[in-house]
């Protein structure tokens, strides 16, 4: 296990270098002046001063090397747009808020999605199954911004049960403001998990070892918990890593609608502002998260399926 983890961590280095290189090249390919954000022309002297200040006057390979050095020393440089702040500050301050939103959304998915899938699978083609799958189809099909707008309309404006926007800023602070955004974001993974769990459970129940277990005279309840459920979780875990990575970093829409000061908004804003250093910073962050999520999945496999444990270590 330790060897696996170490190997994976070492592998992140070339992956990161490649990611930085590709983003670097792509950002330079799109036109646009990071220092001209309004229709006002930038006088040549001002442009030259700004380029000098942000190292954009150096040859491209020097700029690339400076970025790489910055990433590995955790100094991601100053933002080209938010002039009082550095990219490291931005990530440190805003990422935990997105992380909290993502985790809460995931909790909805785990707490309601997985049991819904289990119930549907244990009572296939009954009214429970149909109802649950009907709702999960809706959750699957409706885009989160639409769900968010509906939630605000009914629960914030009509009923006044929740505020329309805002977010408790501390990582451990939880209040009523977290409910609507996390639900809006969690609906999709919830529906996804419900369908996935139902599908794999039904498939697992057809397996020979399930029949054997029942033939041995095991109680149905323990067959389900020990054999069916656990084996059905493997595809769920597989799906979790990329989904989790997406949800904790790609919450742009929900963050904008609920005015949550997370990192998601910077994904769009930094590209349209040509804020090279912020683009680079959050791309690196996303890559690291996806890499870590995948690593966690591999570790979880080892717990769920002893065969992978022996073959991988």
């Amino acid at each position: 296990m330790a060897a696996l983890i170490i190997r994976r961590i070492v592998w992140t280095i070339p992956v990161l270098l490649l990611v930085i290189f590709m983003i670097f090249i792509m950002m330079r390919q799109i036109e646009g002046n990071p220092f001209r954000r309004t229709e006002r022309a930038v006088p040549p002297a001002v442009q030259a001063n700004l380029e000098r200040k942000f190292n954009l006057d150096k040859p491209w390979y020097m700029q690339y090397l400076l970025y790489v050095k910055g990433v590995f020393t955790l100094d991601l440089g100053p933002s080209l747009v938010l002039r009082d702040r550095s990219v490291t500050d931005i990530v440190k301050e805003h990422f935990p808020r997105s992380l909290k939103l993502g985790v809460l959304a995931f909790l909805w998915a785990i707490v309601f999605g997985i049991p819904a899938g289990v119930i549907a699978a244990l009572r296939p083609n009954t009214v429970y199954d149909y109802l649950l799958m009907f709702f999960s189809s809706i959750g699957f099909a409706l885009p989160s911004f639409f769900v968010a707008t509906l939630l605000i309309y009914y629960f914030a404006l009509k009923v006044n049960a929740f505020p329309t926007n805002g977010w408790p800023l501390g990582f451990w602070d939880i209040d009523s403001r977290v409910v609507l955004p996390s639900l809006a974001l969690g609906l999709f993974p919830m529906a996804y998990f419900a369908r996935l769990v139902r599908g794999t459970m039904l498939e697992t129940m057809q397996q020979d070892y399930v029949r054997t277990a029942r033939a041995k005279g095991l109680r149905w309840k323990s067959v389900v918990t020990r054999h069916v459920f656990r084996n059905s979780l493997i595809p769920v875990v597989t799906a979790t890593a990329p989904l989790f990575g997406l949800i904790i970093t790609g919450t742009f829409v929900i963050e904008i609608i609920f005015s949550i000061p997370g990192i998601g908004r910077y994904f769009i804003a930094s590209v349209s502002n040509r804020d090279y250093s912020v683009v680079m910073g959050i791309t690196v962050l996303t890559s690291v998260i996806i890499i870590i999520a995948n690593l966690c999945v591999d570790i979880a496999y080892a717990f769920l399926d002893p065969r992978t444990r022996t073959s991988r270590t």
Binding site: A45, V46, D84, L107, N160, T164, I174, S259
Partner: protein, 554 residues
């Protein structure tokens, strides 16, 4: 067995966390609800002087030297005391930190009050301005808006200095502190608008010792030292900015607000929802979602303010001939655009300089090429006269909300002249690059706007000189350029307005060149509750003066 226990533990943890979250949610929900009602109660009865405002953006910087946008500017103006302020109605400069000023030729002398202090107790002196303005011009700070100060002798040279000569050039910037209360500024020409221009946030001072101690972080609430009516209490990036009244402000007796609680809400729809749910008292005028305008403008809390700004279509004069430009300009029915498409109460442009600016009545050319409802018949005549008509053209706009709808309307108006218009939208940064100057050859017509920095027509007319970085039309007229130079030296207002009239004429009179066709003059729209709407005001330069806001009891 062990594994089973582990799974159970995880399940239990998940359950506890969710219940906990739900429980806390419930509790806090009640708390928030109570908080809300009590706030409205006191707000109603005793009129607690707290303004809750929704800012439309995170201010990129609260450093007067570095800020460029409206939100930063408005927050900074609440925190700082400018030398002069503009009267919100007349836009005439009024004394603020400077109790008076004298102008002799191109030398302006400001006489500062002796009772102004920084929030740490230091007096505000003329030295502070010398330091701050030179700091803004210094290549090390690399301020985007350094050019706002280019009217000062030696400023542009210092800003463009290279390593060797910077120190020498810094000394040549003609701003000096004669004594603690006297600031002497020498300008490159008379620039009669300079006094008004000084109300811009780029001319605000910073506290030298604080800036030198904390560097880029000096604007953190813990470090910041300011000298205005309000102080920065907290700034949670992208979430909130809270200001409190500065009790030691020289004019604190005339400031009623005790607190300004600002939420940063970027999305227009969310801003409207927050307002309608009673979570904020006012928005900051940064624009309402176009699709909501129809509904909102019938509400009692909808407010409309005139703005010094212009929405125009420019022509690439290398591609489109004079008669065709006249025809295309005549074909546009501006009334349809303002009343049926834009719908925010803007008026149809009859020249470049917007109404509301000083001298408008003299300056406005009431151009024959800009009839409010268009003149298709005449347009057709000019189109037929055009020696090199171009009937297949590209119209470019940036992909922000609202522009496409206007472009489509104009497309159909031009279609009546037999012009096939292809509309092309581009992302903002790319768009600006594409327009040059010089513009990409594919550009035949483009949309842009201009928001005035200071209330003098020169700020907009100057865009159209041959060398201007904002002239994307390829149009270059020497008569126009020499008139601009003349205006810069003309101190007498009436005489200068006459020159502005001639400048408008070169573009839009009967024999004008029509290098562009103004569509409409801007407005700001806003939502404000009854409690603040009488005193809350957005000036034509998009400035909010919080010292004048009083929360009314109801």
């Amino acid at each position: 067995m062990r594994r089973k226990t582990w799974l159970m533990l995880v399940a239990a943890l998940v359950a506890v966390l969710t219940l906990g979250a739900a429980g806390c949610g419930g509790d806090d929900d009640d708390g928030a609800a109570q908080g809300d009602t009590s706030a409205t109660d006191t707000g109603g009865a005793a009129a607690e002087q707290v303004l809750r405002i929704a800012w439309g953006a995170e201010p990129p910087s609260l450093d007067p030297g570095k800020a460029t946008d409206t939100t930063s500017s408005n927050v900074i103006l609440a925190l700082m005391d400018p030398l002069v302020k503009l009267n919100p109605d007349t836009l005439e400069p009024e004394a603020s930190l400077a109790e008076s000023w004298t102008v002799e030729g191109n030398v302006v002398t400001f006489h500062l009050r002796d009772d102004a202090t920084w929030t740490n107790g230091d007096p505000v002196t003329a030295q502070d301005f010398v330091y701050s303005w030179k700091r803004t011009l210094s290549p090390e700070l690399a301020a985007d808006y350094a050019y706002q100060l280019y009217g000062i002798t030696g400023a542009a040279e210092y800003n463009g200095c290279t390593k060797g000569n910077c120190e020498a050039l810094a000394d040549k910037v003609a701003v000096t502190a004669v004594d603690d209360q006297t600031l002497r500024v020498e300008l490159t020409s008379e620039q009669p608008w300079f006094i008004g221009q000084v109300s811009h946030h780029s001319f605000l001072p910073v506290h030298q010792a604080t800036v030198e101690e904390f560097g880029d972080n000096w604007t953190d609430p813990a470090n910041i030292v300011t000298n205005g009516p309000f102080m920065l209490e907290s700034w949670e990036h992208e979430a909130s900015i809270n200001l409190v009244k500065n009790p030691d402000f020289r004019d604190a007796d005339n400031v009623s607000l005790e607190r300004i609680e600002g939420s940063i809400i970027v999305d227009g729809v969310t801003r409207v929802q927050a307002f309608e749910a009673g979570e904020v008292d006012a928005l900051d005028g940064l624009g309402l979602p176009p699709e909501e305008i129809d509904r909102l403008k019938t509400e009692p809390y909808y407010e409309l303010y005139p703005a010094l700004g212009n929405y125009y279509y420019g022509f690439n004069v290398d591609n489109i001939g004079l008669d065709q430009r006249k025809a295309m300009s005549l074909a546009i029915n501006r009334k349809i655009i303002t009343d049926q498409i834009d719908k925010t109460g803007r008026s149809q442009a009859t020249g470049f300089t917007p109404e509301g600016i000083k001298g408008f009545d003299v300056i406005n050319p009431n151009s024959p090429w800009l009839p409010p409802e268009g003149d298709m018949e005449q347009a057709q005549t000019f189109m037929d006269q055009e020696p090199n008509p171009k009937t297949d053209i590209n119209l470019f706009h940036n992909d922000a909300p609202g522009h496409k709808e206007i472009a489509v309307a104009v497309q159909s108006m031009w279609a009546e002249l037999g012009i096939k218009t292809t509309i092309k939208a581009q992302e903002w940064a790319q768009y600006l690059e594409f327009l040059g100057p010089p513009p990409n050859k594919a550009v035949d017509a483009y949309r842009l706007g201009w928001i005035y920095d200071f209330p003098d027509a020169i700020n907009g007319l100057e865009l159209w000189t041959c060398d201007s970085g904002n002239n994307n039309t390829n149009w270059c007229n020497e008569e126009f350029d020499s008139l601009v130079e003349e205006a810069k030296k003309t101190v007498d207002d009436d005489a200068r307005y006459e020159i502005y009239r001639q400048l408008e004429g070169v573009m839009f009179d009967e024999d004008g060149d029509v290098p562009l066709t103004p569509i409409m003059w801007y407005t700001y729209n806003n939502l404000e509750t009854d409690a603040v709407r009488d005193s809350f005001f957005i000036s034509p330069l998009d400035q909010i003066d919080f010292t004048k806001v009083v929360v009314q009891g109801g």
